[in-house]
């Protein structure tokens, strides 16, 4: 390529790079706000106008009792629902990617449907079910609801991760005399584990942050997002920012550990 074109090309390249950099910064603007305002000393009950720098909120992150209780509920719900959904979802993912069988197309489609249904429809329809059954909505119904959307999510995520998996390894293990059960735990499971853990982490984050589906099925139960929403008319404590920052740092650390570990020993699966 000659003079003018390549000069224009270089300008376009730089323009695009700058644009991408601006978008990345844009993604972090509210995050910076959240972290920054966790160090604020608000006047009154609303932590939305900058006053003074303080470490008080970080030294007493659990000062706001209602918020802390709600946060603990969120952690409990996320732990239970993630554990169950990860098992159910991973089983589906293995079934769909390991075997070819009748009806797999239909099951695939059925799996995608919950993720292409707006959350408000998921939440309100499940609430009509519980109303119909005369079930009081609370902790259990929220766990049930979270598992429902997490199963699809885990199954699709794990399936995507094991797509390049070499299933003949199982054959090899069995040719060498391993029983199917032993083959699974010694060969298959360790290789698909990173994918399963990634899916579990993401679905834990989905659960802890879920607002819409939870709102419809929580009854009088309060979770972290529900508490913030419910009390926003009277208060927005800086501890909310502290807890949100803790969630952020914790999930990023887990993510980083995963990346470092997987890059130190590359598994066969992509």
């Amino acid at each position: 390529m000659s003079g003018p074109t390549s000069a224009r090309g270089a300008a376009a390249r730089w323009g695009l790079n700058v644009y991408a950099a601006i978008v990345l910064v844009y993604l972090f603007i509210p995050i910076a706000w959240i972290v920054w305002f966790s160090f604020n000393q608000p006047k009154g009950r609303y932590n939305i106008v900058w006053q003074d720098f303080t470490l008080d909120n970080w030294s007493a992150p659990f000062k706001n009792e209602g918020l802390t209780d709600a946060f603990v509920q969120s952690l409990k719900i996320a732990a239970i629902s993630t554990a169950l959904a990860t098992v159910l979802g991973s089983m589906i993912a293995v079934a769909l990617s390991r075997y070819s069988f009748r009806g797999s197309g239909g099951f695939n489609l059925f799996l995608v449907l919950p993720l292409t249904t707006p959350e408000i429809v998921l939440g309100s329809s499940l609430a009509t079910l519980f109303l119909d059954w005369d079930v009081t909505r609370g902790f259990t119904t929220v766990v049930i609801a979270h598992i429902m959307f997490q199963v699809s999510f885990v199954a699709l995520t794990v399936r995507a991760r094991v797509r390049g998996f070499d299933w003949t390894l199982e054959q090899a293990a069995q040719d060498l005399g391993a029983s199917p059960v032993r083959t699974f735990w010694k060969v298959t499971f360790p290789l698909i584990l990173p994918g399963i853990l990634a899916a579990a982490l993401l679905s834990f984050a989905l659960s802890i942050d879920d607002f819409i589906v939870t709102l419809f099925n929580a009854g009088s139960l309060s979770t972290f997002p529900l508490y913030i929403n419910g009390s926003f008319r009277v208060q927005f404590p800086p501890q909310a920012n502290v807890l949100a920052t803790i969630i952020l740092v914790a999930s990023v650390s887990v993510l980083l550990i995963g990346v470092i570990r997987s890059s130190s020993r590359r598994p066969t699966s992509r």
């Binding site: 509210p30 079934a95 099951f107 309100s124 199963v151 920052t245 990346v259």
Partner: protein, 357 residues
Amino acid sequence: MATAHVRPGRPATRRADLIGLGALLLAGALIAAIGMRLLTGSLAALATALLVAVVVGLVVIAVAGGPETRRRLAPYGLLKPGMLWLTLFYLVPLFTLLRTSLSTLPSRFAVDAEFDWNFGNYADAFTDFGAQFGRGFLYAAIATVLCIVIGYPLAYVIAFRGGRWRNVLLGLVVVPFFTSYLIRTIAWSSLLADSGPIVGTIDGLRLSGLFEAVGIMDNGRLINTPAAVIGGLTYNFLPFMILPIYVSLEKIDPALVDAAKDLYSTAGAAFRKVVLPLSIPGVFAGTLLTFIPAAGDFINAEYLGNPNTTMVGNSIQDQFLVQNNTPLASAMSFVLMAIIAVAVLGYTKLLGTEELS
């Protein structure tokens, strides 16, 4: 039962896959029937017994059958728990939603609606909340287009120029979304507030006239405007656009672009004729993942909008949880889902993409 050809003498089934599929579908139908209360009393007990029998029967066949039978039944066994969960807590609720939407509340304060084929709820949904439906879809559509415009270049740069920093850059796209959705939206409401930094900057640069002229600002305000709601939606769903586009761009062999250039294509033409068509599946998936949740969202409208920018999600939430008018809320939910389903089908036809999942 036919005898197994693998290990003669052991009972096995040649059509194990049909048995597995049939058993799974039967179990799903039974659980749905029980869940929908189509079967009550002794019939429900019978159905439960049948359900247990199906599961036990499958286990027996799998244990007694030869390796071939076991292998063929395995996928259905693995699918069963998750699929039954989805049947009971995703599929059945859609039925009860439909039923509730055709019901009537006996009195204003009644909790249980009575099913009586009341189509009036659908009429009410359209006459009373037509504006909210319109706004919901309009805002979601604008936000989706903005997500493509903002997200595509970033996905492109990461995929083609990220080099060994690709995964780090991709991680940076995802990281912000590990903080609470609600608090992120509250953050925007503070950032866009009248005394906030953004309005301050615009005023300082004396650009408020310009922003008013293009309809972003209203009376010198950013917060509580349609633009703020759309901006919130755009921000909150942006990664759902960036990630699928990145995935489709990453699969493109850079040699294809080089080949186009070798054949005297300009960079722009190579993009239009090679890269863009190959990235359409990503744009397609991203559009679905952005538009569908945005159309049903009510958080952005609640925290960033005003009473005249409410979306259909706000109305459903209000009718269901505040006014306790579950039949009307159910009717609106159902209409929302139906419109989205039709839109997705039409869009799929338009782009002709097979890679839905």
